[in-house]
């Protein structure tokens, strides 16, 4: 055993070069500097606003307008100050200032202790773990908000919270889950796994990667702090003109989306460049694992679509703060324009939240069935088909919106067509099971749970694609049921599959299998009890986004609320299992699942630069059952023994 697999999982093996000069602790990159620079930049923003308004004269009375100060000072400048202080810009700033080039000492790479997870770190494995833990924190916060929503809905009348608070609860719940959990959780898992699967030492742009991560806590804290500034209460869709009419706090949503969106775009660019340029020798596109394919297509979706939601939220904020009239009909604005721009992002976003999960499930099902994935090429092509079709269906969210009626049938046809590549994927997974040697370990349970739940969500999606049915159930609990079957039964289940699958690789320890299975079964049952009845009350006539409802739905809602609390409790098992196993689980071997992809060829956790030599890819990633077949070779014979190899 080399030192690389002992206590400090990602500790660099190189002697660390001492930086040329040590700075005072208030000036060195880190939390103290982040703290004062956040405040300093806020004051700077405030100064700019007040100064310019004072210079502007009587047209800008009062000079101290707190709403503008918050937008410029608190939501724009302060985060930049935080990022500068924590050290996300240090290298670029010194480069831009023409300071002498410092030789790269990799001092920002790897983790010696837990403290190294709380600083700007350029190691994709550290960043991956930073992503996953941060997003799980926001998942728990978002889940808590959902339970508050369900507590309010347990009885038909108003119970615990006033209407504005209720609207903010479900809005922030959805926003956190989408922008701060599902999308970045996949980015985090892929951050850890994709470079390893490609046989690359890191992502293409490690500093950009670190910056992408540090934008996330900013966005999340902005959304959570919106409870102190009422106004994020127009639903996560933030439809104009209601969003423009909301109390001032709505700008917290507009800006949080910008920070989270910037993070997504930077990560996606990083993935694209990494996947295109950093594949190991022999890793042709048709030899890439499907997880890599999935993140390739997802990244394309992100870079093309995300600017649209950024624009939609800027427009809403400009309508409020600068009195533009993008969406104000009395000023010749076009209300439906908001929905077209918003959904042009937010429909592809559904696939941004789905395709990486498809990738994870393909890896898991193939490994635990001990069989090659069925129809590998068609699986990859289906991802591309979903990518292309995904951009042509956005208006199916708008069948009752009042858009041009002739748009409805074409959008219905493209929507239903997506069922075909999606169906191919589901059937291919099932065919992979066929005659396999199935091992029902926790990742496999989550993957199969995903397939069945996602089929239910997909089928209700086909029903929603049919325009006349959609007209009846639009904006009802049927939609709430559908979205949760797709995003909770779908995306969340695949995230759990991925976390359990790569937990040994990431932490070097095994999780408790018994607790993981208990977690799965409890979640599966409570999830269905919570969300399946919502189909019924939706069709029967219960609209979404209401705190009070007709007594006829009271019994079902009480049942749903109770189930949702069981669902919430089931995640506590997960948290407990993760914490305890990470601290004191049994050590994990390099390849606990006998997987074939490259991440299993190195130790758990991998050495700080992943590979001590460049892997040679020699075949397809899923050659289970083929005698002597290999996906990649590390240093000939020694690869088979999987011993960590020291750097030369």
């Amino acid at each position: 055993m080399s030192e690389t697999t002992t206590a400090h999982p990602h500790a660099p093996q190189h002697e660390s070069h001492e930086p040329p000069r040590r700075r005072h602790w208030l000036l060195a990159a880190g939390w103290p500097r982040a703290f004062w620079m956040t405040g300093f930049f806020f004051l700077l923003g405030m100064g700019i606003v007040v100064g310019l308004r004072a210079l502007g004269g009587s047209g800008y009375d009062p000079a101290l307008d707190w709403e503008v100060v918050i937008v410029v000072g608190a939501l724009t400048m302060a985060p930049l100050g935080f990022l500068s202080g924590i050290g996300a810009f240090d290298y670029w700033v010194s480069y831009a200032l023409g300071r002498p080039t410092q030789p790269e000492d990799h001092s920002s790479h790897g983790a010696y202790s837990w403290k190294d997870y709380f600083r700007v770190n350029t190691d994709h494995k550290v960043i991956g773990i930073q992503y996953v833990t941060t997003t799980i924190f926001f998942f728990l916060a978002g889940g808590l908000l959902a339970l508050l929503v369900r507590a309010e809905l347990a009885r038909p009348e108003t119970n615990y919270v006033d209407t504005q608070t209720y609207n903010e609860l479900f809005t922030v719940h959805a926003s956190l889950m989408i922008f701060l959990f599902i999308i970045p959780a996949f980015a985090g898992l892929a951050n850890y796994v994709v470079p390893l699967m490609l046989g690359a030492p890191d992502m293409a742009f490690p500093r950009l990667n670190a910056l992408s991560f540090w934008l996330l806590p900013i966005a999340g804290i902005m959304l959570l702090s919106s409870f102190f500034f009422p106004g994020v209460g127009a639903g996560w869709t933030n439809y104009a003109p209601l969003s423009v009419d909301q109390p001032f706090g709505n700008v917290f949503f507009s800006m949080a989306v910008q920070w989270a969106g910037a993070s997504s775009i930077m990560t996606a660019l990083n993935f694209l460049v990494t996947i295109i340029t950093m594949r190991a020798p022999g890793m042709t596109f048709w030899r890439m694992p499907l997880l890599v394919w999935a993140n390739f297509t997802t990244s394309l979706l992100v870079v093309i679509a995300t600017p649209f939601i950024a624009a939609s939220q800027f427009f809403v904020m400009f309508d409020r703060v600068m009195h533009t009239n993008f969406f104000d009909p009395t000023g010749a604005g076009y209300v439906l324009g908001y929905q077209h721009i918003f959904w042009f992002y937010s429909h592809p976003a559904v696939y941004i939240m789905m395709l990486p999960g498809f990738g994870i499930v393909s890896e898991v099902i193939s490994t635990f069935s001990r069989k090659p994935i069925f129809g590998y090429r068609l699986m990859a092509l289906s991802l591309m088909a979903i990518l292309v079709l995904g951009f042509s269906v956005w208006a199916h969210h708008m069948f009752v919106s009042g858009m041009a009626p002739y748009l409805r049938v074409p959008m219905m046809v493209t929507t239903l067509l997506i069922a075909i590549p999606t169906g191919i994927k589901v059937f291919s997974w099932l065919a992979t099971l066929w005659e396999g040697k199935l091992h029902f370990s926790a990742p496999m349970l989550w993957a199969l749970g995903f397939v069945t739940m996602f089929v239910i969500g997909g089928l209700s999606g086909v029903m929603l694609g049919a325009v006349p049915i959609d007209i009846h159930v639009s904006d009802t609990y049927f939609i709430v049921a559908h979205i949760h079957y797709v995003l909770l039964g779908g995306s969340l289940f695949t995230i759990f599959a991925g976390i359990y699958y790569w937990f040994p690789k990431m932490t070097g320890r095994m999780y408790n299998e018994r607790l993981a299975k208990l977690h799965f079964w409890l979640t599966l049952v409570a999830f269905n009890a919570t969300f399946f009845p919502m189909h019924l009350i939706g069709i029967q006539g219960m609209p979404r986004r209401v705190a009070t409802y007709e007594p006829q739905f009271a019994d079902w809602n009480l049942f749903i609320s109770i189930s949702s609390f069981v669902l919430g409790a089931s995640f506590m098992i997960f948290v407990y299992n993760m914490i305890v196993s990470w601290k004191s689980g049994p050590p994990a071997p390099g390849n606990p699942w006998r997987g074939m992809t490259i991440e299993w060829l190195v130790s758990s956790p991998p050495p700080v630069f992943n590979f001590d030599e460049v892997p040679q890819v020699v075949g397809s990633p899923y050659e289970y059952g083929v005698k002597g077949a290999r996906h990649a070779i590390l240093n000939g014979d020694r690869a088979a023994g999987l011993e960590p190899v020291r750097a030369p």
Binding site: S369, Y376, V400, G402, V413, A466, I469, H472, Q540, G541
Partner: protein, 321 residues
């Protein structure tokens, strides 16, 4: 594949299909059907449900059979057969879903075209949605206004929808039809009631604090009753406009103010705006507030006639001002 496997798959699929069909059949899924449009929607709904049951049964059968049959002990380290694909079967599972979604698409397009198309000469009703009330105007009946939607049975009604402030959405579950009311543009919706009775009319697009309470009733009358109603309203409305007739102040209050305000004597419990039980403003201030709005409350001038506003002020303050 062994013959036994096929038989087992079919048996499991039939059991799953029977259970899901039972859930579809014995649970009362759809609300009462009260319009011609709902007939098309319901037909499409059941056809799609049948297709969904078929697909789900196939998926469940394969998963269950595979899970039971191909499961191995944890210490079994053997691999499955290296099957990489099968062109024939891949063509089948591309083609069959294509056919199924084509059926759904064609049927949907037909139902949609029918539901968009009024039968005969439709009755026109102008719908104005605002935070948090509905107002219905009958331009062909002398412009009478109502806060409940009165419709004649067996005649198509074309709703012309508009919104004053933010997005709202018109829905009567029993009619099945839904349409957003959008500020700045006009949208339309066709409804052909087939059953007399009173139905819930609800706003389904989040429109602010009073969204959950932005509700009224759709009342379907026989053609004769509808004619009588319009006649009575035309006369009553004329009188009210002239300033002398009986105006139902409590009715105006429950239709326009209930979503936001609590008032015990009207039996309302809205909590968006101030509780009006302890109202301390004088009649002039109350009238000003109703006419001009403010503090989050929309203006009602033009929504309510002068007589209605006067009646409301008196109802709220017990004084004529």
């Amino acid at each position: 594949m062994r013959r036994g496997a096929i038989v087992a798959l079919i048996v499991i699929a039939l059991i799953v299909a029977a259970i899901t069909t039972g859930i579809a059949y014995f649970v009362d899924w759809l609300p009462e059907q009260a319009s011609e449009e709902r007939q098309g929607i319901d037909l499409l709904f059941w056809v799609t449900v049948a297709i969904c049951i078929f697909v789900f049964a196939v998926v469940a059968a394969v998963s269950i059979y595979a899970g039971v049959t191909f499961r191995v002990r944890p210490d079994d380290e053997s691999d499955g057969p290296p099957i990489h694909g099968h062109t024939g079967i891949e063509i089948v599972w591309t083609a069959v879903p294509t056919i199924l979604v084509t059926v759904i698409a064609v049927l949907s397009a037909v139902v949609l075209a029918q539901n968009d198309d009024p039968k005969g000469t439709p009755l026109r009703v102008d719908v104005l949605a605002q935070q948090y009330a509905w107002q219905f105007t009958y331009p062909e009946q002398g412009g009478i206004k109502a806060t409940n939607l009165y419709l004649p049975i067996d005649r198509s009604t074309k709703l012309i929808l508009n919104a004053r402030d933010v997005l709202h959405s018109f829905w009567v579950p029993e009619f099945g039809q839904k349409q957003d009311a959008v500020p700045g543009i006009v949208t339309t919706l066709v409804i052909t009631p087939t059953k007399t009775g009173e139905y819930r009319l609800i706003c389904t697009e989040l429109c602010g604090l009073g969204h959950a309470l932005m509700r009224t009733r759709a009342i379907v009358l026989s053609q004769a009753d509808f004619a009588a109603w319009t006649q009575k309203q035309a006369q009553g409305g004329g009188q009210a406009g002239g300033g002398g007739g009986e105006v139902d102040a409590k009715g105006i209050f429950t239709a326009n103010c209930a979503a936001c305000h609590t008032l015990t004597k009207a039996g309302t419990s809205g909590t968006v705006g101030p509780n009006l039980d302890g109202l301390s403003l004088g009649p002039a201030d109350v009238e000003e507030q109703i006419r001009k709005g403010g503090g989050g409350m929309p203006p009602f001038e033009g929504q309510l006639s002068d007589a209605e506003i006067k009646a409301l002020v008196q109802y709220l303050t017990g004084s004529n001002g």
